[in-house]
């Protein structure tokens, strides 16, 4: 599986940094406010689909987002739903959600909402800022 990397940028839009490695260790970091949120996250979903289709069994996805708008939040939900489906199908899926402390953007709350919506287990990990 070819790794997928997108360097985050803070231009007209805020693109998160994407690092999806061949060994299934993946990370989404930074800020997410995009022109086409669905298109952006659908590409990540496609990568994950292909990764599991190739016979891989384990995937770890870490979120280190400090801001995302509501359009991104809807697209991220689809990404997490995809992971839940693969987990239900017997794949080993680990999701880590890093949130800053103090948590001005209430990132922990966002993760809790995703847990409720998807049924996916998400490890909530705080880091000092």
């Amino acid at each position: 599986m070819e790794p997928l990397t997108i360097r985050g940028s803070h231009g007209t839009f805020f693109t998160p940094t994407i690092s999806f490695a061949s060994n299934g260790v993946c990370e989404i970091a930074g800020e997410s406010y995009l022109e086409e949120s669905f298109e952006f996250y659908d590409n990540l979903i496609k990568w994950i689909e292909n990764y599991f289709e190739e016979g891989n069994k384990n995937l770890q996805l870490s979120f280190r987002l400090t801001y995302f708008n509501t359009s991104s939040s809807r697209a991220i939900l689809d990404l997490l739903t995809t992971l839940k489906e693969h987990q239900d199908a017997g794949k080993e899926v680990t999701v880590n959600w890093y949130y800053p402390d103090p948590d001005n953007d209430e990132m922990r709350m966002e993760a809790e909402d995703y847990v409720d919506e998807t049924g996916l287990e998400i490890n909530l990990i705080s880091y000092p800022v």
Partner: protein, 198 residues
């Protein structure tokens, strides 16, 4: 009488509408941090967003709330304002509207205003009414419910911007409309962030 007619014939005398005649009023007790009227293209949106963040770099909690609410208001205008259609439907343009950020002694106030059709205005009023009956827990549930609905072709996002504004501000959304003409109304949505929560 429609707002349109008042605007042209009677602008300064009787308007009680506080965004359109904003610049003519000299009220005490607040400071204007931002007043923008125009198209909400991506560049403007990001520039103003970054400006607000920089402005609040010493009070990051206020900054992140104001920034988050601003982005949702601005995107609503950019995607859904009817004003581009009203004056220029020949080229692909961005929605036109106004966003104001005021600082008061004990709060910050964000106000957005733009043209919408009467149908949309009614839809938004009802949505805000539902939002205003809920506490944070209720808003989070509503957000989850809405976000889990299937994607809609006419929405670029989760259709949860208004709910997110209410969650971030921890205050009701004040919504007001004035009929502009037979088709359009001027829609104002405002919300307050209390400094004591920051």
């Amino acid at each position: 009488m429609f707002l349109k007619d008042m605007y042209f014939t009677n602008y300064k005398s009787k308007m009680d509408f506080n965004l359109l005649d904003y610049q003519t009023r000299m009220e005490e007790g607040y400071k204007i941090l931002l007043y923008y009227k125009g198209p909400f293209d991506e560049l403007i949106l990001t520039k103003i967003g970054n400006y607000l963040r920089t402005k609040f770099s010493q009070t990051p909690k206020a900054g992140s709330k104001i920034f988050a609410i601003f982005i949702e208001m601005a995107q609503n205008i950019s995607y859904y304002s009817a004003e581009t259609d009203l004056f220029d439907d020949s080229v692909k343009t961005y929605g036109i509207g106004t966003i104001v950020v005021n600082e008061l002694a004990d709060s910050y106030k964000l106000i957005s205003g733009n043209m919408v059709t009467h149908d949309i205005a009614q839809e938004i009023i009802e949505k805000c009414r539902a939002i205003n009956t809920l506490d944070t827990e209720g808003l989070r549930n509503m957000k989850k419910e809405m976000r889990s609905l299937p994607r809609r072709d006419d929405h670029k996002g989760g259709n949860i911007g208004l709910i997110q504004m209410a969650i971030k501000s921890e205050n009701p959304l004040d919504v007001e409309t004035k009929a502009f003409d037979e088709v359009h109304a001027f829609l104002t949505i405002s919300t307050t962030i209390d400094k004591k929560d920051l």
